[in-house]
Amino acid sequence: MNESGHIVVQGIYKIFKKGRTDEVRAVDGVDFSIKKGELFGLLGPNGAGKTTLIKCISTLLIPDDGSVTVGGYDIYKESLEVRRHIGVLTGGERSLYWKLTPIENLRYFAALYGVPRKSVKNRIEFLLELMGLTDKATVRVEKLSSGMKQKLSLARVLVHDPPILLVDEPTLGLDPYFARFIRDFVKNELNRRLGKTILLTTHYMDEADELCERIAFMNRGKIEAMDTPVRLKQSMPQKQVLEIKCQGALDKGIFDGVREAASINVSHDDGLVYVRVNTDNPEVILSNIIELVREKAKIVSVRVTVPTLEDVFVHLTGASLKDG
């Protein structure tokens, strides 16, 4: 059992046929392996194939090719053992019975997972306590807020105390307060304290940067790069970023003439436009860029910072995480 905790993915393909000729290469030849106790992140834009990959690993989908072992068990031949050792959490979607109470839900899942009868009661009490849901234990799930539902989903995932967790977009659709809670919980409680091996997917770069020990960039079914967040950021040839925050409508095209910049990314957030320029010498091109921006928009602030994961992603793929 000392292999438990490993996820080894080798040469996985999953291609969906759409009609006669069309096909979607959702997972297009992916290899990676996750060490025991590691918190590994898959970061990629919408449609990158993250969920498909998770479904393959959790035996919901049969890959077209490749091999996967989870905790030393083969997903084709020992799928029941694989499922016994994993907990799967998906964000945003319904994964609980809304007509039942938290206790009833957890009891049901405890039976499915074969949690020993004697320990079911204690386990459920412990989990509800852990998630701070004890006083909601007998309220129907439909009456809980979406943050509480997600907490309960976490309790459900832990009901059989699996050594490996597959977590797909855990903070999708949650307000910042609950998103914070879930992130801290995943990092501090599940990974650090309980030592769970975690594969987490997200398209929030901050989330991946903050939580994960290693990150794989995924785009169009392929892994583009894989390393620790720090090293990924160091891998950028240009060590500085010029960021201009402004209001108005900007198109990436207006920067076409700028030569000294390695790459320029325009993204929108909260009604503001962020222009990020990767460069080695921001002082040189500063005035040039500001000129160009001023023609179209009103500048709110200008600063020089270091590259983020988003910049690395743009640099590697030319695609943006947010607008992907």
Binding site: M1, K55, L80, R84, Y108, L112, P163
Partner: protein, 285 residues
Amino acid sequence: MNERGGGLSSRVFHYLRAINAENIKEWKIELTYKPDFIRQFLEPFVYLFPYFLYGFALLGGRYSEHLRSLTGIGDMVAYTFIGYLFIGFLNTACWAMGFSLRKEQWFGTLETIFVAPVPRWVYVAGMALHSTCHQGLIMLIQAVAITTFFAIVLQTSGIFLALSAVLLMLLGLYGLGIVVAGLTIALKQWWVVSEALSTLIVVVTPIAYPLAVLPFVLRKVAMFLPTTYGIIGVRHFLLGENLAVSLPTIFLRLSLILVVWLSFGMLVFLMMDRYGRKRGSLSVY
């Protein structure tokens, strides 16, 4: 939880526990839709009476000399009632079991339960258990109410054999149910299959009429259905209907049918499950 699944007996125990958990969960969810729950208990009565009234209109009463000459039972109401009472289990197979996975999909819980370490047929089996209990309860109420209302006298001496015939019929129907459950994975319009199957079975099963009135082809079809022998058997034991085939033959065929149907059902289900996991089609409606 880190050791392997354990031996065969502990695995069987685990599956049984999961099946029962499924059953309990279904009861709880059903009880939250109270009006619907009450309706389900009233419906069989509203459903049954037209068949009696049709008979009344034809006969001008409840006694039929012709039925007596065919079956040995002259009371049209008793004859029809026993037939319709036990065919109620057809709902279990064609609807409840077939619906089980689709329903999880509507709840949004399908993928969540599919990553639990039990084979997927366990959920269908859980639904079968639930629906059988549910249907059994409805039937019990129906049986008491109708026999009292129409003063039908049942023979109680054969009750044990009657129940074993019903049990064998049920197991055979589960085979059918799991086929339908498998088809729901691959077919969008699975309910048409369900509807067609249940209509066909209702037509050829001797519910309100003996096999003798059926055309040759339909009679042959009826030979392959567990419901035929189940209903014939139970009516023989409870009302003393004349038998065209001997009792041992009935039980033998019932057992044979149940083995064939259950294994065929499992085969179809496992194939469809595999197909679904290749296509990823279960998650899209």
